[in-house]
C-alpha cells in the first residue's frame, strides 16, 4: 500500500529495480529473466503515449521524468526488443512541445490549465506542469540516448538557463536564485556535459560546494548546506565529482581518486544504511524503499571507483597505478564491489547500447558515447 502514492510514477519502480539488480551483478539466479523482461517491455509500451513520451501510468498524460525512467529501464534490460518499442520521432515532438523556445513571445494567459511557469531555455515537466532542473536533465538525457540532440531548437538557451541557476553557494538550484541542492546540481552539470557547454558555469565553485557537503561525523553526504545526511546523496553528490572530472578533462581527481572521502561514504552505506530485512535506507532507523536502494547503491558504486579519463581519452594503453580497482574499496577486498555506474545516465557502465537511430549501431555506454558525438 505504501506504493500507492507511486501509482503515477510507475516507470520509476522499474528503473530503480532494474538498476539495483544490474549493479549488484549477482549470479544468474538473481538476474532479470527473459519472461520478466517481456512483461516489463509490454507494460512500458502501454505507458507510451501516441503523442510521444511515456506517462506515469497507462492511462495518463506523458511526463518527462517518467519518460527518462522508462527509457533507462529499457536500456537496463539490454536487449533489442526493449529498444525497439521507443518511438523516437514522437518523443522528439513531445520534448519540443514542452520546451520554452527562445523566440516565444511573453506569455499572458488567464486559464490556469494553459499557463506556463517556464523561462526561456527550460522545460515543463509535463503539459501545464511545473518547470525545474529535473525536466532539463531528463530531456537532454533522453535526447542523447535517442540521438536527438542534433536538434537546435531542443538545445537552444538551455546552457544559459542552467548558468542562471548556479547560486552564490556554488551548487545549482531548481530555479534561478533558489537554494543549491545536490539533485539539481547533478542534473544541471550532467545537462551541461551533454550539451558540451560546461564553461557556462564555474566548475570550481560547484566542486567547493559539493566537497563541503560531506559530513565529518557520518561520512555520507547531505543535499544542502546545514542539512542532514541521506544515503541517496551518495549518488547525487558522488556523481558530481566524477562529472567534474569529465568536464575538467581528467584533472579533478587526486592520483585517480575522487576529491571526496570515498572510504567514508562506503562505510556509512555499508554500516549504517542496510536494512536488516533487505533493501537500503536513507539513514539508520528509516524504512527501506526502492528509491534509496537504487541511489545508495549507485552512489556506493561511484565511491568504489576511480577516474578512467586517461584511459578513455588520452591513452588507451595507459595502465598506471590509478587503475588499481581495489585501491578505494573499504577494507581493500572484493565482496562488496558493485558494477560501475555511469554518472551521467545512472545506468551500468558495461551495457551495450544499440544506438537508436538510422542506421543502428552498437556503442558501449561510456564516456565514449558523448565523446564520439563531437
Amino acid at each position: 500500500i505504501q506504493y500507492q502514492r507511486l501509482d503515477a510514477s510507475q516507470p520509476w519502480l522499474f528503473f530503480w529495480v532494474t538498476s539495483t539488480i544490474n549493479l549488484l551483478g549477482l549470479s544468474s539466479k538473481y538476474t532479470i529473466k527473459t519472461y520478466q523482461k517481456k512483461k516489463i517491455i509490454a507494460y512500458l509500451e502501454l505507458c507510451q503515449c501516441k503523442e510521444g513520451g511515456f506517462a506515469g501510468g497507462p492511462y495518463m498524460e506523458a511526463h518527462i521524468a517518467s519518460s527518462y525512467a522508462a527509457v533507462c529501464t529499457l536500456v537496463n534490460l539490454n536487449c533489442e526488443d526493449a529498444y525497439k518499442i521507443i518511438n523516437r520521432e514522437s518523443m522528439l515532438q513531445f520534448l519540443l512541445r514542452l520546451k520554452h523556445k527562445m523566440k516565444e513571445p511573453p506569455y499572458l494567459e488567464r486559464k490556469c490549465s494553459l499557463m506556463k511557469t517556464t523561462i526561456p531555455g527550460s522545460f515543463q515537466i509535463h503539459f501545464n506542469g511545473e518547470n525545474d532542473m529535473r525536466a532539463t536533465y531528463c530531456s537532454l538525457l533522453i535526447g542523447d540516448l535517442l540521438n536527438l540532440l542534433a536538434n537546435t531548437e531542443l538545445r537552444e538557451g538551455v546552457a544559459e538557463y542552467i548558468s542562471h541557476c548556479q547560486t552564490y553557494e556554488g551548487g545549482i538550484a531548481c530555479v534561478p536564485f533558489g537554494e543549491a541542492q545536490a539533485g539539481y546540481t547533478q542534473c544541471g552539470l550532467a545537462s551541461l556535459i551533454l550539451l558540451q557547454s560546461t564553461q557556462s558555469i564555474s566548475l570550481e565553485r560547484v566542486l567547493e560546494w559539493a566537497v563541503n557537503c560531506q559530513l565529518e561525523d557520518e561520512g555520507g553526504f547531505n543535499g544542502r548546506i546545514n542539512k542532514l545526511v541521506d544515503s541517496c546523496y551518495n549518488f547525487w553528490q558522488g556523481a558530481i565529482f566524477e562529472l567534474l572530472d569529465l568536464a575538467m578533462k581528467g584533472t579533478c581527481n587526486y592520483k585517480g581518486k575522487w576529491l571526496y572521502n570515498q572510504e567514508a561514504v562506503q562505510g556509512y552505506t555499508l554500516l549504517g544504511c542496510q536494512n536488516s530485512t533487505g533493501g537500503m535506507i536513507d539513514k539508520p532507523e528509516r524504512r527501506a524503499d526502492m528509491y534509496h536502494s537504487c541511489y545508495a547503491l549507485s552512489g556506493l558504486s561511484i565511491a568504489q571507483s576511480t577516474s578512467m579519463y586517461k584511459e578513455l581519452y588520452i591513452d588507451k594503453n595507459y595502465f598506471g597505478k590509478d587503475r588499481d580497482e581495489t585501491k578505494c574499496l573499504l577494507g581493500g577486498y572484493n565482496p562488496n564491489k558493485l558494477h560501475r555506474v555511469h554518472p551521467l545516465y545512472n545506468v551500468q557502465h558495461e551495457l551495450s547500447l544499440i544506438h537508436i537511430s538510422e542506421p543502428t549501431r552498437r556503442y558501449a555506454i561510456s564516456y565514449a558515447v558523448f565523446c564520439l558525438k563531437k
Binding site: I1, R110, E130, G170, C252, L259, Y260
Partner: protein, 338 residues
Amino acid sequence: YQRRVHGDYQEIMIKEVEGEWAPTERLAQFEPEAPIAPIDYSEKFKTIMDIFRYALKIDEVSLRAYRLTAAVIFLNSGNYTAWYVRRKCLDSLPELKDKVKEEIEYLDIIAHDMAKVYQYWHHRRLIVQKFGSLPPNEYALLEKFHEEDDKNYHMWTYRMWMTEQFHLWDAEYKRVTAKIEENPKNNSAWSYRYFLQFHHTEYIKIGSAEIDFAKSYILKDPNNESAWVYYKGIVYFSPSKCVGDKAANASLAEKFKAEGELFCLKIRSSVTDNRFCRSFLVDIYKEKKETAKSAIDICIELIEVDKIRKNYWLWMKDKILLSFPEKQQYEKSQHQYY
C-alpha cells in the same frame, strides 16, 4: 484534530463521489496475468481510479469530474493528470467561474499532507496567479508550513515566486531577518535573503552591509557554514552577476578580499581548528603569486584540521603549485605529503 476531522471528511467525500458515477462508468486498469510489479491497491483506491480512468477516456469536464479529482488527489497526491483535469474544470465550467477563492480555501484545508508534493505547489501557484492578488490567508499558511519544516524547498521556491509576483520585497526583508535570527543555521533562509537583497539592488549599494550582516553571525558562531558561504558568495560570486558596472563591482570585491583576510586571520588565531576561515584564506591567497606560499601552507594545515576533505586539500595544494611553478622548489624542500 484537524487531520482526523479532515480524514472523516475525506471518507464521506469519497462515498459521495462514488455515488455520482454509475457502476458501468468504470474502466479497470489493464492487469496482465501475473503482473510484473503489482502495486497493492486498496479497494477504495481501485474503485476511484477505475472511475477516473473512465472519465479520462471520455474526456469529461464537469462538476462531478471536478469532485472526482479531489478524491483522486486524496488517494494519490502525485497524480498529475488529476490536478490538470481539476484546472480544466475550473477554467471551462460556468458554475466554477467565480470559485477561485473557494479553490484556494480547498488547498488550504488539504495543505497538511502536501508539504512535499510538487503538484500541490505548482497547482497553488497557478490558482493564485489566476486569482490575481495575494490571498488573505497566504502568509498564515506559509508560517504553518514553516513551523513543520523550516527548510521545505517547495515552500521557499513558492515564496520567491510570490514575492516577485506581488512585490513584497520590503515586508519579506523583515521576515527573513527574523527567521535567520530564529535559526541562524537555516541555509534556506540565508538563500532567500540573498534573493531579496541581490535580485535588483546594485552591488555597490548592498555588498558591504550584507557582509557585515554575515560577519555578525560568524562572530556569534564561527562554525556556521551558512554565514561563511554567504560571505564568500558576496565576495566571489556576486560581482559578476549583480546589477551594476562589472568593473566597479570587481574593484569593490578586491577591497572586500583585503578586509576578509584580516577577518579570517583573526578568527584563525582566536578559534581552534576552524576550517572555514582557513578555506577562505586559501581562496584569497591562491590568486596571487606573492601569497601562493601562504595558500599552500594553509592547505597543509587544512589536511589536519579538515580531515574528511584531505583529498581535496592535497589536490588544491598541487593545483596551486602548478600555477606558480617557482614554488615547486620550496615544496620539495619543505614538505613530504603523499
